[in-house]
Assembly symmetry: C2
Homo-oligomer: 198 residues x 2
């Protein structure tokens, strides 16, 4: 395996060499996904966290009326998983699908255990990642409860600066919890006010 | 300090005696709050996680139009904190207020560190709590994006079975992200269908 984005991510955050991390990553499966391919479907057990080396994934649910709702996007350097299913061994409520041809590394509990054993500061870093996830989800809830369509869109642009042109507008609207028409209006308003983030 | 709900919570989940936990809890501050009293305001640093021994807290934000949005309720045995502020040392976006006369224990990083040092299985239990929090937040986002008012209400009743009569209806509606009128309609519909959860 070539040196991966994931080993770079770890070596910049914990005391470990690229060689040490790559040696552990040898045990992780690398998957090449075609556009539209699924790595998780509702009802399945999500056995992994997916780290995106290249490409783009989305996590979504389908409600009782058949409508899709985007929980998250995961471009390069992002992790995505259904932690409810992975950690608590429950059937997943979610789908995870490639929006582009995508390369992912499959991280499992065994890999995490090895990292914990081998690198004393990994455990604290992992806790930090969990807190960061909580921070992000809490903020998302707060935005869904109280923020205007424009505020939600600007937050989205700040969080995912490089995927706006890679994702269909309807999926962005779904992520934001607004209608595609409302998203068009916001983008038009911002454009006329000379917003550069499009 | 008398034996607390918190020590009971820990001794039923990790290998530790009540005496050992109580000894560590001696260093935690116990606060008695009057109804409506705040333990956190927007802009402040949230230095603690609050464990509710008795009473009821709510965490909320106020949007740019002055409207309140309820992020969470915390009755007895619940923890509440702004982890973004507590862990990442940022100014909080949230308020935490007592809805009843309330007794809380203030948990800080020093307490967590002592627990990690003293009890080998605490670290794993703490990770489990973080995952459980993530599961809950992820599900909340999914509900806000895609669930009907009735589905949200039923989920709320399942999560907080004992606080329906203790919380003003407007705050429940705010938590659910629906109007108070919509909440009334849901409750009326469920009542006519003989729902017992009121």
């Amino acid at each position: 395996m070539h040196s991966s984005k994931l080993s770079g991510f770890f070596t910049s955050n914990i005391q470990a060499s690229t060689e040490e991390i790559e040696a552990l990553l040898e045990n992780c499966t690398r998957m090449e996904l075609k556009r539209n391919q699924f790595v998780l479907r509702e009802g399945e057990h999500c056995a992994h966290t997916f780290f995106v080396e290249q490409g783009l994934l989305r996590q979504f649910s389908i409600d009782t009326k058949g409508k899709e709702h985007v929980l998250s996007f995961a471009p390069e350097y992002w992790f995505v998983s259904d932690r409810e299913s992975a950690y608590f061994k429950q059937a997943s409520r979610y789908f995870i699908q490639a929006l582009e041809d995508t390369v992912v590394l499959l991280i499992d509990e065994a890999f995490i255990d090895q990292m914990v054993k081998k690198f004393p500061d990994f455990s604290g870093f992992n806790t930090r990642l969990l807190h960061n996830h909580i921070r992000h989800l809490q903020n998302r809830i707060n935005m869904l409860l109280g923020a205007s369509a424009e505020e939600r869109y600007l937050e989205f642009v700040a969080m995912y600066p490089d995927i706006l042109l890679r994702v269909p507008q309807a999926m962005v609207a779904s992520y934001l919890g607004i209608t595609p028409e409302s998203l068009s209006r916001v983008r038009k308003d911002l454009a006329t006010r000379n917003f550069k983030g499009r």
